[in-house]
Amino acid sequence: MEEEIRRVAGIILGAPLTRRTRRELLYSGFGGLAGVAGFCLTLVLLTTGLTVSVSVIGTVIGLLLITVALRVSRRLGSLHRRLLRRLLGHQVEAPPRFQPGSGVLGRLDRRLRDRAAWRGVWYSLIKLPVAAVQLYAIVLTVFGLVDLTYPVDWLLFHNSSRGNLSPLAAVVPAPFGGRLEIYSWPGTFPAAIAGAACVVAAAWLARGISAADHALVRNLLGPSSMAERVSELERTRTLAVEDSAAALRRVERDLHDGAQMRLAALAMNLGMAREKLDDDGRPDNATVRELIDAAHRNAVDALADLRDLARGIHPPVLDSGLASALATLATSSAIPASVIADIDPRPEPAIETIAYFCAAELIANATKHSYANQIKIKIYTERRRVLRLEVSDDGIGGADAARGSGLAGLAQRVSTVDGRIDVVSPAGGPTIVTVELPLRA
C-alpha cells in the first residue's frame, strides 16, 4: 500500500521531468499561440465577411472574405495537424482535398460548401479556450521555475552583509495565488515549494489539454465522418462510371470516324476498281491503278488507326512494367524526356494503367503548352504504400488544374482510386505535377 502510494506520488511529482511533458509544454506553447492567432484571423474574416455581405453592395466583398476565411481555415488546419505530428507524434490524416468546381459560381459554391473548411472554422473558434489553458500552462511553468530558483537567488544576490535590501517578491500565479514577500533565506522555501507545485500542476495541465486538443483535432481537422466518406465514395464512383462510359464512347467515335470510315472508303475504291476491270474487257489501267493506290492508302491508314486505338485502350508495353512503359513513352515524346523509376513493390495493373495515362497526358500537356526544353519524369514508391509520379518541365508554367480540362480530367480519374494530384506551376515556370496513387485500387 505504502509502496503503491509512493509509486503514484513518484509518477505525479516526476512528471515535469519527463521528455513527454517537455513535448507537451512545447506543443501547448506553439499550439496556444497558433490557436489564438487562428481564432482572431477566423473571427475577423468571418464577422467582417458576414457583416459586409448583409448589405447588397458588399455581398461580393463579403463572400470573398468568407471564401478567404475558408481557405485560411484549411491552411490553419494543416498547420495544427503538423504541430500535432511534429511535437506530439500524433498522426491525423488530412481531410479529402478541396475539389474546385468549374466557373466562377461553381467554384464559389464548392468553396462555400467545403465541409472540411467549415469544420476547421469550428475548430478555430472552439480552440480559443483551449489555447487559453495551453498558454496558462506555459505561464504556470515559467513562474514555477522562477519561484523554484529563489533559495539559490537569495544565496547569490541577497546574502550581503548589509542585509536589509528590499524584500524579495515572489509571484505565485493563480490558483495558488498571491504574492509572497520574502525577508529571509528560510522564507524562500515556501516560494520554492509553491514553484514546484506550479511546475507539477502545469505538467499535468499540459498533458490534459494536449489530450483534449488532440481529440478536437482528430474530430474537426481529420478526415470526415463515415457519412462524408460515403458521399466522397459516391462522388468518385460516379466519376469512375462516367469516365468508363466516356472512354467507351470515345472508342466508338474513334472507330466510326477512323478505321470504319477508311475501310468503307477502301471498299468503295476496290468496288470502283472492279467496275473498271469489268468494263467491256478493256480496262483503263491508269485509273484502276489509281483506285487501287487509294485503296491501299486507306488500308494502311485504317491499320494505323486501329493500332493507335488499341494502344489507347491498353498499351501492350505496360505488361512488362510501368518503368519500361514510361521509358517507351518518353522516347516518343516530342520534347526530350528522361525517366527515373524506382518501383517496388509493383502496383496493381489498374493503378499502373492510370499512372501510365496520367504520364502520357502530362507529357502531351507539356508538349502542347509549356514551350519546355526538357521534361523529367520520376516515378517511385513511397513507404511501400504510395506510388508517386512526378512530371516536371522547365517551361513557361501557368498550368491550372481548375482551368485546364485535361488536368481536371486527370484529377477526376485519379480520385476514383483515392489518389490525388498536385500542380505547382507559377507563371514563368517551372511546372511540377505530382500524382499520388495508392498501390492497390
Binding site: 468503307a264 468503295m268 468496288g271
Partner: protein, 217 residues
C-alpha cells in the same frame, strides 16, 4: 440522275462523288451537314439525296432529322440514308411516312458499285432500297406480331427481297427461279398476310410496310 450528297467525312464524300460521276450521274452538291443539305436540296431539287446519319455538330442523328424534313418538304426527292450502323428506330422513323422514295443502306454496300447504283436509282424513281440488315431487323421486330409465322421459308425470302425493293424479275434472278414461281409466292404471301388483290400497285409496299414496318403503316 441528279444527286446531292451529305457526308461529313471528306474521304467518303469525294469517293461517292467520283463513283457516281463515273457512272454518269450529276452531283449538284456535296455538303457536310444537315442544314447545308436542306439548303442544297431547296436550291437544286435533285432526284435523290444520299445522306449520312451522323454529321456535325452533334454527330448523332442530324442526317436522319434532315432526311425527315426533306421527306416532308420535298416529296419529289428520294432520300437514301447511308450509315455505318442500322438502327431499327431510325428505319421506323424513316418509313413512317411510307416507303416510296426511301432507302437505308449500310456504307459497306458501296463496295458493290453496280448494286449501290441500282439501289440509288430505285430510290430516285420513287422505289425502296432497304439494306438486308434493315430487313432482318424489322423481321425480328415484327415477329412478335405474328403473321410471318405462317410463311414458308421460301416465302419469307421472297418477302425479304420485296422489302429491299426488288421487282419480281429481280427476285427471280436472285433466287434463280422462274418469274412464274415468284408470282405464285407473292400471291401466297398476300393471301397469308390478309391483303386482298386490288387495282393499286401499292400492295407490295403495303405488304412490306404493314408487316415489317414497326409503324404498321
Amino acid at each position: 440522275m441528279r444527286v446531292v450528297i451529305a457526308e461529313d467525312a471528306a474521304l467518303l464524300r469525294e469517293g461517292l462523288t467520283r463513283l457516281l460521276e463515273d457512272r454518269g450521274h450529276a452531283i449538284c452538291a456535296a455538303v457536310s451537314d444537315g442544314d447545308a443539305l436542306l439548303a442544297a436540296v431547296a436550291e437544286h431539287h435533285p432526284d435523290v439525296a444520299v445522306v449520312d446519319i451522323r454529321m456535325p455538330p452533334t454527330h448523332t442523328d442530324e442526317g436522319l432529322r434532315a432526311a425527315l424534313q426533306l421527306r416532308q418538304k420535298f416529296p419529289g426527292t428520294g432520300v437514301l440514308m447511308f450509315s455505318q450502323y442500322i438502327e431499327t428506330s431510325y428505319s421506323a422513323q424513316l418509313l413512317e411516312g411510307g416507303a416510296a422514295g426511301v432507302g437505308y443502306l449500310l456504307k459497306d454496300r458501296v463496295a458493290n458499285v453496280a448494286e449501290f447504283s441500282a439501289a440509288l436509282q430505285r430510290v430516285a424513281d420513287g422505289g425502296t432500297a432497304l439494306d438486308p440488315e434493315v430487313v432482318s431487323q424489322l423481321f425480328r421486330a415484327s415477329r412478335q406480331r405474328g403473321g410471318l409465322a405462317t410463311l414458308t421459308p421460301r416465302e419469307r425470302q421472297v418477302l425479304a427481297l420485296m422489302a429491299e425493293g426488288r421487282s419480281n424479275a429481280g427476285i427471280a434472278a436472285e433466287l434463280v427461279v422462274s418469274a412464274g414461281a415468284v408470282e405464285k409466292h407473292v400471291a401466297s404471301i398476300f393471301t397469308k398476310l390478309g391483303l386482298p388483290p386490288d387495282e393499286s400497285d401499292n400492295r407490295r409496299v403495303l405488304a412490306v410496310l404493314r408487316y415489317l414496318g414497326p409503324a404498321n403503316a
